[in-house]
């Protein structure tokens, strides 16, 4: 447990450093190869070391373009997650950071693309200049190669046009390069966090320009304009001897005219695998979309929350996971994530959807959540479900004591968890290792989560029926209230049940004092391993981590808090 916990924290950093290391290795290795390779000696005479810069960044680009499609192949990641690897926890958590890795690789592509483009601007400019009348000596001789029938050319720029732009647009590499760069810029400008939050549709649709990106990348090198001396020519033409005798190349037998050939395109070899994989991924998503999803129950909660109970063949879930839902009647391209709120032991799966944007508002309207009229089952719109995805919260069952903290909408995964805990408690066969759960719910406005309060109420009743009243200890903190509410609360303070939630445990007002809470929990369980699970904003996550470190005792037999850093 302890070893895995250390691996948890460090594994992300190790993987990032590994990726960075591979990039640097590929860059430096290719750079030195192109700087020292004999067959590119004459190319270097014209271009200098910008050839090596361009080729090294090209190889890194190939590597990163290969990697970029893999983190977003959701079904592949779920498949990997399903197989058991040793120390499952930390590796599974890395799989949850797939989007962060995708962004990191995208930044890598941007940096390498900049180096590649700048280097090739210099290359094209130098090729262009060496065709001018001012070019003398070896440079001019090399540029003139290819003018007679028996010669192969070195300089892809054959004449001296006024404008290098026309030269660029005459080559396949130039045109595809421009298209690729534009595609990359469009993708990156529409993927900033602000745009994603302001208009997810714009981000999603523009991102599909990646199809043009990959197609252009595959044909980018087909022009073969990176030219080096052929092996046959190298064996006949001694560079060290012949390079200064360029005037005699035609005449002297020791120095036949050097022959050049273009480097064959290699980008397609790198990207073929991931492109095929991603194509399969989209086919699987489409096939899952076709699978029938039966809506068994629709509950419309008072504060604009829709609860949907659904069934699908072969659907298996764990608490804490999420599904992607599509409603073709609203939009044929959008899939939206929702955390599952049902327990795996139930014969259906459910989600709670709150109206928080265009799509969710349209969904609520389609399901008749707004009006009073009852909807007939056959008139309900069809839904497609993909998933479940995400890390399961099953680590909860490995600890004897758990502290679960939910802030605002982060309460949804804990709905599934608490239900699952209750079901496991009810199964008398296997006694649970878990014996105590502290649940903290911090919320600005409880009205949006009345359904969760109902769930807590039903759990409270069932626990007391089973005689396990002290199993679950929950604390609700309301951080926003108005005067009327405050007066109302003060008047009803002495009653048995809470006036807001109707629960036996009273609601607290304001934020929790974590020092006191952790102190109390540490005092209650002096020699236990306590797992801390959190879902909510980053600031609170940092506070809880600090508390875990502060209140874990130095004594190995004492109390230890293990903070599970999750992103639900």
């Amino acid at each position: 447990m302890m070893g895995c916990w250390i691996l948890n924290e460090g594994l992300s950093t190790i993987l990032v450093l590994l990726w960075l290391g591979i990039n640097f290795y590929l860059f430096i290795d290719t750079f030195y190869w192109y700087e020292e390779e004999e067959s590119f000696h004459y190319t270097r005479v014209i271009l200098g070391s910008t050839l090596a810069w361009a080729r090294a960044s090209a190889l890194c680009l190939n590597f990163n373009c290969m990697l970029i499609l893999i983190p977003i192949s959701r079904n592949l990641i779920s498949f990997i997650r399903g197989t058991s690897i040793c120390c499952r926890g930390p590796w599974r958590r890395q799989l949850d950071k797939n989007l962060k890795f995708h962004k990191l690789v995208a930044y890598g592509i941007a940096v390498n693309a900049t180096i590649h483009i700048v280097a090739h601007f210099f290359n094209l400019e130098r090729y262009h200049w060496s065709q001018s009348e001012e070019a003398q000596g070896l440079l001019a001789a090399l540029s003139k190669l290819g003018n007679t029938p028996n010669e192969s050319y070195l300089n892809p720029v054959r004449t001296f046009p006024k404008n290098t732009t026309t030269e660029l647009l005459r080559t396949i590499a130039g045109v595809t390069g421009l298209v690729i760069s534009l595609a990359l810029v469009l993708i990156m400008t529409s993927s900033t966090e602000f745009i994603r939050q302001a208009s997810y549709e714009l981000f999603w649709y523009t991102h599909h320009v990646f199809i043009i990106f990959f197609l252009s990348l595959a044909i980018h090198g087909t022009g073969r304009i990176v030219r080096g001396q052929t092996q046959d020519s190298l064996s006949l033409h001694n560079i060290t001897f012949c390079r200064d005798r360029y005037a005699e190349w035609q005449t002297v037998a020791q120095c036949p005219v050097p022959q050049f050939s273009g480097k064959e395109p290699s980008a397609w070899k790198w990207i073929l695998g991931p492109v095929v994989l991603y194509a399969c991924e989209r086919i699987i998503r489409f096939w899952r979309f076709q699978q029938e999803v039966v809506i068994t129950k629709v509950v419309s909660h008072p504060s604009g929350v829709l609860e949907l109970h659904m069934k699908k063949r072969g659907f298996k879930m764990a608490p804490g996971q999420y599904i992607l839902v599509q409603c073709p009647a609203i939009s044929s391209l959008e899939w939206h994530p929702f955390t599952l709120t049902s327990a795996p032991q139930e014969d259906f799966f459910s989600v709670h959807i709150r109206a928080a944007g265009d799509w969710t508002a349209a969904l609520l309207e389609a399901f008749g959540a707004e009006g009073q009229v009852l909807q007939e089952p056959w008139s309900l719109p069809r839904l497609a479900v993909d998933g479940p995805f995400g890390t399961a919260l099953t680590d909860v069952f490995h600890y004897p004591v758990c502290v679960c903290v939910a802030a605002g909408i982060g309460v949804t995964p804990f709905a599934a968890l608490l239900k699952s805990i209750w079901y496991k408690c009810s199964e008398a066969q296997t006694p649970l290792k878990l014996s105590k759960v502290y649940f903290y719910w911090i919320c600005r406005d409880a009205r949006a989560f009345e359904w969760f309060a109902d769930l807590l109420l039903s759990l409270e009743t069932r626990m007391s029926e089973q005689g396990k009243t002290h199993f679950l200890s929950y604390h609700i903190f309301l951080t926003g209230w108005d005067e009327n509410q405050a007066v109302h609360i003060a008047l009803h303070w002495d009653e048995n049940t809470d006036v807001i939630t109707g629960l036996k445990q009273k609601t607290f007002y304001g934020r929790p004092n974590w020092n006191n809470e952790f102190k109390q929990i540490a005092y209650n369980h002096p020699s236990s391993s306590i797992g801390v699970f959190f879902c909510g904003p980053k600031a609170l996550s940092r506070t809880l981590q600090k508390m875990c470190r502060l209140y874990s005792s130095a004594d190995p037999r004492g109390v230890h808090f293990f903070y599970n850093k999750e992103s639900f």
């Binding site: 900049t114 400019e125 732009t165 810029v185 469009l186 990156m188 602000f194 208009s199 714009l202 944007g357």
Partner: protein, 209 residues
Amino acid sequence: MGQIEWAMWANEQALASGLILITGGIVATAGRFTQWYFGAYSIVAGVFVCLLEYPRGKRKKGSTMERWGQKYMTAVVKLFGPFTRNYYIRAVLHLLLSVPAGFLLATILGTACLAIASGIYLLSQVPPAHRGNCRPLAVRLLVCVHVKCAVLSVYAFHVRKWSSVSRLTDLPPAGLSFRTPSCCQTLMAVALFSRGHPHAPCLPAATHS
């Protein structure tokens, strides 16, 4: 598809284009490429575009995340009043700024990106539906094109009537367009930039030199 706020994307795209123009300009100037003076222009244009686009405009609905330190630039940008507030003017400005950079290889990517940003700004100003007498921009543009073609054809007819066919074919296309009467050009400009002009531009009688 919900409400896509195109102007937000245009702003990001223009900012990125500005940075690309600056980079391309530095490469061309430092490397002393042929016609490197376009590179120098590109740096200046890029800096101007970045400064203009740095303050993020307020969204129609919802909260706007301000960029770090944008309040200093906002004060300067506000001084120019309607010239910076109006997205039509920004679109035309970006298009005009991008053209000179297109003559140099190192800055051609910046040109393309800024031209796209200009297009997105224009797209963001297309009104969603007919509002009273206001015509959608696409229709107005089409009307202008038809007006110009009609005027040119009337002019060409007059030229042909009074001269031989060979003289007509000798006339370069650029020459023809500069001969369109200035009143027609003004009317086109009015049609392009006006909102809700109730009357369609009428065809003036063409005059020939």
